[in-house]
Amino acid sequence: MSRNTKINLVLLFAVAALAVLPLALGLGDHKKEPFTGADAEAETAITELKPDYEPWFSPLYEPPSGEIESALFSLQAALGAGVLAYYFGLRRGRRQGEQRALDREGERRAPERRAGSAPAGAAGKPAAERD
């Protein structure tokens, strides 16, 4: 494994550890409902600060259940991940293709160069080619 890959893996591992540690250490245990969304907690805080506040507009479309909502969230993440993977895949493929084309070009050129360096017969011609 190259050094680059190792560093990338360490970065991923650190992110995973940051996500898992709060769960493993039970940091949500002091709450009635552990690990709810901060957005929902803010809504609760609003109703505490202003008990008579009524939201004056409701969403045009609301996912009918938690399952549908999580499906749509996964769809969002999948779309993003798909585009990112496409980008990096395309780049990698292009780089490999370019490298291969260069190699082929090199092979094609190599015999010519050998012929050019031969002194007999073709005096002056290599110089003209070089220009």
């Binding site: 940051l18 949500g28 969304g37 957005d39 803010a42 004056w56 969403p59 479309y61 749509l72 993003g80």
Partner: protein, 233 residues
């Protein structure tokens, strides 16, 4: 950081919408110019938007015992400058408001202001400052992404505290309350976002050197000096 639909009083909702609109309009112009002048950057633009899509869908547990999500706006702000990120962030927020009932149309202005405007600008400012003082690229990228993420949630706290001041302790009391919900929860997530942004930037350095050089992320020392001089002039 998504203020839920209808959860900002109408006057606040309108004010944040008015504040955000010029940034988004300006961003749309920068985006069309970028695509027209450099059609080859469309792909990387898509990838930056996609990064925001993934990260803002990832709800992660945090030390406060609640969950929140990163924003993913630092990467695009560093690559393409904050105005373009205003557009990409708005698209993400619109998707979530319309399909997920997450955030909302009436609170779109406020959410755009925190996630697509202040976050990218604050993150970019930190990144640019560190780069100018010759900090290593990845240190600047991490700090930029960290600040973009955290500042977004600080702005949300301010927005809510302005709309719902505490009856006893006023704006500051409410700010402390919302800050403890959003900002504290966000600190480890901002670290995660910084690490993920560094990861993507490392992959970009490996795969897209030419593009990064054109965008001014990778600079030779000489170039960076002339650029600083050009800005100073």
């Amino acid at each position: 950081m998504h203020i839920a639909e209808g959860f900002l009083p109408p006057a606040h909702a309108v004010a944040w919408g008015v504040a955000s609109a010029p940034f988004v309009v300006h961003g749309v112009r920068s985006l069309t110019r970028e695509v027209r002048e450099h059609p080859e950057s469309t792909l990387l633009l898509g990838a930056s938007g996609a990064f925001t899509f993934v990260l803002s869908a990832l709800k992660l547990p945090s030390v406060t015992g609640s969950c929140s999500h990163p924003t993913g706006t630092g990467l695009g702000a560093i690559l393409f400058r904050p105005p373009i990120m205003a557009v990409l962030g708005t698209i993400t927020l619109l998707f979530q408001a319309l399909l997920l009932a997450h955030g909302g149309l009436t609170t779109l202005g406020a959410n755009v202001f925190s996630m697509a405007i202040v976050g990218p600008w604050a993150g970019y400012a930190v990144y640019a400052l560190l780069r100018r003082s010759n900090a290593p690229l990845m240190v600047a990228v991490f700090s930029g992404a960290f600040v973009a993420d955290l500042s977004t949630y600080c702005v949300t706290s301010v927005q809510l505290a302005l709309a719902f001041p505490d009856p006893g302790s006023g704006f500051l009391g409410a700010l402390a309350k919302f800050g403890s919900i959003f900002a504290v929860t966000q600190i480890p997530l901002a670290v995660s976002e910084g690490l993920l942004t560094v990861l993507v930037m490392r992959l970009l350095v490996q795969s897209s050197k030419g593009e990064l050089t054109r965008l001014g992320v990778l600079l030779t020392r000489k170039q960076s000096r002339t650029e600083t001089e050009a800005v100073a002039r």
